[in-house]
Symmetry: C2
Subunit: 651 residues, 2 copies
């Protein structure tokens, strides 16, 4: 059955070279031996790890080192802290035109959204608007992104609201509730800035793409369901966010609590919003229709309610929005006592959610610098009556499509919101709540990325499980619990991979010196008298025992199979170490045990292509001396050639 071939072709190049170096006993057939990487001092190793962990392997001071003069270095540092200094110098009127149009567009989108989102957080509507005034002024000075449009975000608002109301009832104690919200915002900002400053942004990377998709889908459904309160005109509604409580609330009120006038308004404008959104998606040029549709809906519906006085027929309206710009709120923040700690905790959870979303759509850039910018923005926001703001990506996408050129579009938006706060708030008096619900529903439905979920299902089943777990956690329990499930599943997945790595038998691709997985390459032939095994992971304490068992098991099976084919006795076990990028003391221990087990069956262990980390540790642990230096080969092909030359030269 083994189709070993004998044409000269596979007599690899190195054969002749091997001869010329044959004086050394461990020269292999390609003329090279397995090399050791240069030894690094402890300090070098440590600084290498720190660079890898915090600076993506880059030298953080590289750009400074390249600059000769001190003044340039100072200027560089200033630019690093305030990116505006860089793009501001090249700012032109042409760019401003783009930013101006984009700013107007996102302002028209954000004003109705802000009012709606503040309701999700159980805060007065003007606080939502404040959040689109101060934060977008701060961000352009510090942030690195061109497209990100700042302001309150749906899921963060929901999260904040549901966490805050666990502590304080927003209806009974509105002032304390507001104070706690500012406290949470302040500490969220501090945490963001600190994580960014210490370059710990990577901590939040422990959420997989799949878990985020699931989490977002769940949050979108929860938010949409919550909006049914305004949509159906229900007065008594549950405070819980899980689907069971909400559905109960809705059906309990079905007989008398629904208001048909409200439903009519809400449904017709939801239809309008969805249609414009669909058009905007189909024809990129008409995106402005979907961007301005919310504001148009607000204006039209407000006018309609004002004329028909529908508010007297049970249609709930926004009523008063406080006029004027953000009042200072530094004195409202709890800097001591139990509410400080609670605010801190809530703030951290809320930014975890916010960051999650930011990570979604390629808005990563320099994650740590970005976090410092967001943190500073939120600290300033918390001192000026704003709650947690972040880069919402619905509005960021609109910003981008509207042709923004720099972060200055945020400033334009901010100015529009300023004018609204100063002069236009009375106009919102008759705006029906139902229209805000419709706007939010149409906004969050876009977060349900069923296509991505299907894609995940097709590509990776385990990933889909994480997605589903996060989704169900949010929908059936609560937002923070869903987040926890998402993190847990994500980490469990990594640990699982580290615990049960794949192992495979390799075979020879006929007429080559290439050895590949026999499951993947049906053409390969096994080499009589030799078993070749590949381990698909670093060998760590989590899998060292398993790897040993698996290798012995594969050896046993292959031995049995070869015996049935009347092949010669197995004499060598070759372990392909290319995918074994690292090993620890438990792993070396397992290899030693493997060796001992093999000695009993008179089989010799040969290692192929150990990488730098592995070879260094095997040497330190004196494992190389145990199996003999000639048993370390550069490739599997070399190993077979050296130890089973007959099998390759043709039996």
């Amino acid at each position: 059955m083994p189709r070993a071939v004998s044409d000269g072709g596979e007599n690899l190049n190195g054969a002749d070279i091997g001869g010329s170096r044959a004086s050394s006993h461990c020269v292999d057939s390609t003329g090279y031996r397995v090399s050791f990487p240069p030894k690094k001092s402890l300090l070098q190793e440590f600084s290498g790890s720190v660079k890898a962990l915090f600076f993506a392997g880059d030298d953080p001071l590289r750009q400074y080192k390249e600059q000769p003069s001190w003044s340039k270095r100072v200027w560089l540092s200033l630019q690093n802290v305030f990116p505006v200094l860089e793009w501001g110098r090249h700012y032109t009127f042409g760019k401003f035109r783009g930013d101006f149009v984009a700013g107007l567009t996102i302002a028209s989108l954000c004003i109705p959204q802000d009012i709606g989102y503040s309701k999700l957080a159980h805060l007065p509507p003007e606080i939502g608007l404040y959040g689109s005034f101060v934060p977008p002024l701060i961000y352009p000075l510090l942030g690195t992104s061109r497209d990100l449009a700042m302001g309150p975000m749906a899921v963060v608002s929901l999260m904040l609201g549901s966490l805050l109301q666990k502590e304080i009832d927003p209806k009974m104690h509105p002032l304390e509730y507001k104070r706690l919200a500012f406290t949470a915002t302040f500490f969220a900002g501090i945490t963001q800035a600190a994580l960014g400053f210490f370059r710990l942004g990577f901590i939040i990377e422990y959420l997989s793409h799949a878990a985020i998709i699931g989490f977002m889908g769940g949050a979108a459904i929860i938010i949409a369901l919550q909006q049914l309160k305004g949509f159906l005109g229900i007065k008594n509604f549950t405070n819980n966010t899980d689907i069971v409580s909400v559905m109960k609330s809705i059906f309990k009120s079905a007989h008398h609590g629904w208001n048909w006038q409200t439903i009519l308004i809400a449904a017709s404008f939801l239809g309008f919003l969805m249609v414009t959104k669909y058009i905007g998606k189909k024809k990129k040029k008409l995106f402005w229709m979907s961007a301005t549709a919310p504001l148009i809906s607000v204006i039209v519906s407000t006018f309609f309610v004002y004329i028909t006085r529908a508010d007297k027929h049970g249609v709930a309206v926004v009523k008063n929005i406080e006029k004027g710009i953000n009042p200072p709120s530094a004195s409202l923040i709890y800097f001591s006592g139990p509410f400080m700690l609670k605010g801190f905790k809530i703030g951290v959870e809320a930014i975890a959610v916010g960051r999650t979303f930011a990570g979604m759509k390629d808005y990563k850039l320099d994650g740590n610098k970005e976090m410092m910018a967001l943190g500073t923005m939120n600290v300033v926001g918390s001192l000026t009556s704003c709650y947690i703001a972040t880069g919402g990506f619905a509005r960021s996408a609109v910003n981008c499509m509207a042709g923004c050129k720099t972060a200055a579009s945020n400033i334009v938006m901010s100015m529009v919101v300023l004018l609204t706060l100063l002069f236009l708030t009375p106009l919102f008096k008759y705006t029906p709540n139902a229209i805000l619900s419709s706007i939010i529903i149409s906004a969050v439905l876009g977060l349900i990325d069923y296509k991505a979920a299907y894609h995940i299902w097709k590509v990776d089943k385990l990933d889909f499980l994480a997605c589903l777990g996060a989704f169900l956690g949010v929908v059936f329990s609560s937002v923070d619990y869903g987040l926890l499930i998402a993190i847990a599943i994500s980490i469990a997945k990594i640990l699982l991979q580290a615990t049960r790595p794949r192992t495979a038998l390799l075979g020879n691709l006929p007429r080559t010196t290439v050895y590949r997985n026999i499951e993947q390459y049906p053409d390969v032939t096994t080499v009589p008298g030799v078993v070749i095994v590949q381990v698909d992971s670093a060998i760590y304490f989590t899998n060292s025992n398993y790897v040993k068992e698996r290798i012995l098991r594969l050896l046993e099976e292959e031995e049995e199979r070869q015996r049935q084919q009347n092949c010669p006795q197995i004499e060598f076990l070759i372990v392909e170490l290319s995918p074994v990028v690292d090993i620890d003391t438990s792993g070396i221990h397992a290899l030693e045990e493997l060796c001992r087990a093999l000695v009993k069956c008179k089989i010799q262990l040969v290692l192929a292509n150990p990488g730098p980390a592995v070879i260094q540790k095997l040497r330190s642990a004196k494992f190389i001396e145990l199996i003999g230096e000639d048993k370390m080969c550069l490739t599997v092909g070399d190993a077979v050639k050296r130890f089973a030359p007959k099998a390759v030269d043709g039996v």
Copy 2:
């Protein structure tokens, strides 16, 4: 600088074959294309994962399938549950002789140890002895190990004692304390058995070898320090286990609390024990000296105290040990109320420690079956006044050296303990506590494996950090806290590896088609116009962004270097995927981003040797269509040959 060569040798074998298959556009130079593994159904994938996770990739029913008749299958199942049925059938008198001698030897070791260990757990001495009577009777019926000798163990006793006394004061409420101890034992047994039954034993694999070494060393020091109470004859001693409290306790009592007679006895016998131990280690044949030394010390010192009536001069003695065999204790276990939960928690923590130790010295065998045996043993033990027993490895080592043939040596030991309990307990009346302290100190000093710690330091610095963390946690805080630190560091290490994998540039080993890490192999030459990068980990959400950044950074650096050498423009980026054993949706997403970034610089992405999992997912995600099927190569050598043939044929 690139030393590309032109001798025919490197024109790999496949060149001619390539021609014969050239009809297909993606045939590569060795004549093979990258294959896809056969598609598996969802069920096959799932059952494959389950087998890997729970049965080390083996078919659990394999042995049954091989058996034709039902009666044989039943017999096989019985043998699986009761391994005694297998080895019992071949039991001979010769084997019994070995077991008898071994049993006597370990009995002489265990009796003084048991009395001492029960003091660590703050339990009466007879309960320690009970633990060497019933559990060693149960284990041989169910257990798979030949060498393991059952009974109380030092660290588990310490852990149990320190956890229990946090709940109940053993001096004030001895009965309640005992009840809680039995409750903890009961639930420890249930947990062990359940973990074993559901094959979840692997959960406890999340403790690295290094962390265990550190933990054990710390525990040994803590135990030894605690023994200074008996050793120095101190009456008032702290209940805390951390080194600071203990040292304070000792120095506070230095003026008046020490008893010179006690110290004299303790020190001289400790010397005796250490010397015999040293001899036993040096000459394997004299191991019986170290095995019987404890019993000899007890006999001699007891006799000495009896004659001199040293107990009247402040030498504390054991006093009464209850005569008779284990009383039933089922009625003492808390099956409800808060103490049930506490007992449960304590039990679980204690077996986590016990299991840790079991994992130390190759006593792994069939971990899950073993855990079921230990669990059953402890459940029965808890019903017969024993506290948690496990396979102590000091006595297991002695058992092995004394020539035990089967688990029956446990039964012999059990019988000796039975006789002791029935007839010999009064003889321990004058046994000085100091001698027990000496025995425990000499026993646990062997747990401080400084050689292993040094070995870890030499081989793997990060592992050493885990070791040190666990050690310091135990010594300066408490046993359970140390365990927690050990687990946390162990898991953090895996996550770190998954977050910041190594990346490297590859180069060509002149005159071969082998490409290797340029840091490891100083001989390699780079290929002009091509950058070859290797990523040393599965690409997951934790590292996808980092990997992308690193690849781009390496590309940039290499581009700069090649430009300085006047090499042609970089046209291809080859990514060696051999170590990339898996990828998830985030990883594919990162590759797509990489592609997009490369398109901007007019560089094409080529992937070399994608494994089965990677190629399948890349196909499902339509990534292969994105970069083109001809960009998937079997080896880096093929890729270079196909896309930069000039560079290889000699520039």
